[in-house]
Symmetry: C2
Subunit: 197 residues, 2 copies
DNA sequence: ACTGAGATTAGCATCAGGTACTAATGAACC
DNA sequence: GGTTCATTAGTACCTGATGCTAATCTCAGT
């Protein structure tokens, strides 16, 4: 019953922990690859995976693929950062951004400013009633640090429209306390775009 | 020789373009799935893929998986947006950002402001000589629209340091012409962080 | 109506990377 | 010697393909 310290027959335990690590680092390893790496038979690897509940290569790929697909899609494919909660076109809007470790400095786990800015700016773009617009000017103040995991609520309000210029204020709160204030001047297109055909 | 308008025997051309689109939208479709969708045999789908040079499901998965792996890693895992080209700590720095479709509005293919801002802010953070810092204030002007594909060169310069406040100016150029100007006040930590333990 | 070309389908052998299961062998321990 | 756990071997089968050959279908041109 002693848990056989170093060589439990043929260091199964050790191999399995290593195997788990290896696969998590590189999910694209076949059983054959692993068998070679550990100098055991393929069957042993299969047994190990079975015991550890590690799915086969294809499953792992399927997983990694669709998982990252989602991530990339939601990071890049979208025009608004965060989730749009409320929108009165031309007037005001609210969005929520759930921050995570990836948005933060590793060292301090404080959310990097540009993620907060992105929520604000993209919300500002969303509220103005225009087919196409660009940011002209912005005036930003970060009032309080934001920690990874915090849930940011942004409120945007159009305060003035003059010609093709839209003045939008955005406030962001984290648990009722203000962490960000931004003033944006957004410019609708067809006027700034007098460049190439 | 007439390019047979609508039904070129059995709308092969049409099917192939649709197929290409379908697969690019969802790379996880098997030949069988596709065969059902188009009401043709699996063999036809295989021929189509062959003609179009579309690899098999597993290849596509492998691709998507590792590609997005990279993407997620480079978008999320990194603290600086763009590529750091030059850095004199505490003085100045240069970074380059290659913009792409994903950074742009689909409608206009103009790069969204917050991507440009992110390059600027993260470069500003990089140049100041501090273990940990946060953005306090920023003053931003977008001078010219940036199109998807443009290569942005950002130059940051520390203009003044007063206590824990660092004043950094960032200019971004696109093909020698200025497109962005930003003034940042960055605050080093251990002073702003007087909140929770 | 006949021919020929292109489009589509069928069928089969083969492969990779597995699952699932059975059984043999090895080693260690008492 | 017997028991137990670890490892290996071997077989049948599965999916989603490739690669190849061959048959059929459809239509346009003459």
């Amino acid at each position: 019953m002693k848990t056989n310290g170093s060589s439990p027959r043929r260091n199964k335990r050790e191999r399995q922990t290593q195997l788990q690590q290896l696969i998590s680092e590189d999910p694209f390893l076949t059983d054959e690859d692993l068998a070679l790496r550990f100098q055991v038979s393929i069957q042993t690897i299969r047994l190990d995976r079975l015991e550890l509940g590690i799915p086969e290569l294809r499953e792992r790929m399927r997983h990694a693929a669709s998982e990252n697909y989602e991530k990339v899609r939601s990071m890049a494919g979208t025009e608004i950062v965060g989730e749009l909660i409320d929108l009165k076109l031309g007037e005001s809007g609210i969005s929520i951004l759930e921050t995570n470790r990836e948005m933060a400095f590793k060292k301090t786990s404080m959310v990097m400013g540009h993620h907060i800015y992105s929520q604000a700016e993209s919300l500002a773009m969303a509220v103005i009633d225009a087919n196409a617009a660009l940011t002209g000017v912005s005036n930003i103040k970060y009032l309080q640090p934001v920690e990874s995991g915090d849930k940011l609520v942004a409120k945007a309000e159009v305060v003035r429209v003059r010609g093709n210029k839209h003045f939008v204020h955005v406030l962001i709160q984290n648990r009722q306390v203000q962490v960000f204030r931004g003033k944006f001047i957004l410019v609708t297109m067809d006027t700034i775009k007098e460049e190439q055909p």
